[in-house]
Symmetry: C2
Subunit: 110 residues, 2 copies
């Protein structure tokens, strides 16, 4: 993926990471974009990774649990997850689309 | 801004960077989120910076000129701008909202 200037969703790598959770990814030099689509009530189970993760909800709503903090986020709300901090996401009834960004690039999502 | 887990738009720093172009920013450890709102036909003039910049259009449309490549992008379309590459953005008639991410953090947008 690296090296391209413009990437549409059909050109992204797609990974089904949990039931009802698909991510569409593309990598830059040191950051990776990952558009996450969660069906209603879909769950990204608690996990962690060494990569820093930041992002913004684009559509719908989800409950984000990051370390010991918890909040329901909607369109335009941003989140910041330092590397190594466990996090879990539960989509509400309207589902959720969020843009995640990882640094460095997640090789497992290429 | 750094150190917070959840940030809504009202908590972001706001900068008017060109006529009709506002950015709402918040910083993580090594990345900065910047929600850019362009009024119809607003222009981000050609510029460059050492930071790598990636992003996705959230709403509306804009013409992106990156180096010698040019494309009109709409919702869900991603772009990847290596550090030092000149770029220019022109919103179409429907205006444009895009989420930019910078690495490292842009100190001038704190």
């Amino acid at each position: 993926m690296a090296g391209r200037t413009f990437v549409d969703k059909s050109e992204c790598a797609r990974h089904n990471i949990f039931p009802g959770v698909d991510v569409y990814t593309a990598a830059g030099e040191s950051m990776m974009l990952s558009l996450a689509e969660l069906e209603a009530e879909a769950v990204v189970e608690r996990h962690s990774h060494p990569h820093e993760q930041v992002g913004m909800v684009v559509e719908g709503h989800a409950r984000f649990i990051v370390g010991d903090e918890e909040r329901v986020l909607g369109p335009g709300d941003m989140y910041f997850i330092p590397g190594g901090v466990p996090h879990r996401v539960v989509a509400l009834e309207d589902g959720c689309r969020a843009l995640d960004i990882f640094h460095p690039v997640r090789e497992d999502y290429l």
